[in-house]
Amino acid sequence: MSRTKRLFVPLSPYDQQAMETLLERQAAQGWLLTQTGNWIWTFTEIQPQSLQFAVTCFSRASEYDPLPTDEQQDKEALCAQSGWHLAARRHDLQIFYTADADALPLETDPVVRVENLYRTMVRLTIRPRLITLVLCLFWMGKYWLDFRQDAIRFLSDGFDVLSLPVWLLLLVACMVEPIACLVWHRRAKHAAEESGLFLSPRIPTRVSWVLVGAAILLLCLAAFGSTLPPQWYLAWLLICVVAIGGGTLLRNHLQRQDIPAGLNKTATGFLVLAVYMVGIVVLLAVSLGSRLGQPDHVVAGSYEQNGHTREIYNDPLPLTVEDLTETDATYSREATTYASPLLRRSLYEQSPVVPQYAGAPTLWYTIYDTDFTFVQDMVVHQLLAEHQDEVNEDGTVLQDSYFSIDPAPYGAQAAYQLQRSSLGPVPMYLLCWPGRVVELQFAYLIPTEEQLTKASSLLAPSA
């Protein structure tokens, strides 16, 4: 019984010369190729001999076709008649060998060879990468719309900000190989037609893998920057692996059972989609049930309102109503923070437990912290733009806008107060310090200058 061995061969189908050299060296050492996987190749022991190999691309079969296809067998029979015997085949490759050192090469017309290889490139590389490219563009378009709709929310979402470079990297990764294929085709076609030469393709497949690896690394970082725990992303990754792995197993099984390619593709696609959808539904159900991704609050009690039980929170707040005025109301103090490397957005609210304490002073404020001037400018611009005067049909102006006030008492760079037509200035302020912007709103409390100064001193970045 002859011995076999397996080799890890990380070569792309376009590295034909490298494959032929490897196979000829193996044959000289007494090993003949019998099977080719994507990366693992199987050899059987033979008498060491000098064999000539020819690796040819086959563009007419897919990974769903039962192999060998009739077309593959046609080609193999034709080649066998001219002394080239099949060593191994894959859906995209056929590898032949001959012991005749003077045998006519399998591929003699560079123009035909270039076009054959290019057709394989279109099916194996260009088309799939373009589909991924469209997906990347779709996600980047979604990000752009999210950013346009609410830049502050987008910039303070750790996952969105960190996963943006992921899509950029994938976008580049999707373009590297198709561009290399197109450039090669243009040059090779010219060389074949004008000079009868075959230019071997140099497709930088490793560059794509490096970019994809970097994208995965960034995705992991993004998962850590998200409000959802890393376990959620691990579970999502597991669902993807199970869906794709299950699909691959089914595809290979149906292929071995000689199921037609169309049926195989449909069944495999259905299985992948079904497993993914079921997995995501289960994951979402578990997430909602266990309040995954919801902000953590210090629960101090609860009360009934309109038949609903509401929790009373006692989160630490940098500024409280009690810092500004005396009150005997019972309050719920709520703090929620969203953060990315670009922007930290902390929302604070101190509101009375209603209805017992309806009308007690109430406080809402949001603190925006950033190390980047352009981000701070964006935040201020958006907050000012959220309040715009409106001109009625009769020409009267409905005021709802911030107007500048003296920032000096607050030690700020800029300060604004909101004004409304019907009410005039209202107790809502925008205070800007270097690296920090605070939007502060009161209800049932018109702060005095002294109270406002105290509030700003507690909210200023140095506080």
Binding site: D70, Q73, L106, T108
Partner: protein, 107 residues
């Protein structure tokens, strides 16, 4: 291959079409082309397979019989027209050569 992007035929394509004016099998084609060109043009079996597939898809040749490796091929009217077009192109090249380089070559 013999699509719009290839406005001309390579030598191997030309002789393949020329030899299929008579019906023959794959291996016969290889031998016949060699004979027709006194061994100057040889077609590799991989290239032959690709050409037969693509010419069939273009409707330039037709296949009869389904036995693996024993299918017989012959040229169609469309293929003959393409061959004639290529012949005209080559004749024009020869005429141009004779008109310019040919004169210089004369004593």
């Amino acid at each position: 291959m013999p699509r719009e992007r290839f406005k001309t035929l390579t030598e191997q394509m030309f002789y393949l079409l020329l030899c299929l004016r008579e019906e023959c099998r794959g291996m016969e084609i290889l031998e016949r082309v060699r004979q027709m060109t006194d061994g100057r043009v040889s077609i590799g079996s991989g290239t032959l397979y690709d050409l037969l597939e693509q010419f069939t898809a273009e409707g330039w040749i037709e296949a009869t019989g389904a036995l693996r490796g024993r299918r017989r091929y012959h040229i169609t009217e469309k293929g003959s027209a393409m061959l004639a077009k290529e012949y005209e192109r080559l004749r024009e090249q020869i005429r141009d050569y004779e008109r310019y380089a040919g004169k210089e070559a004369q004593p």
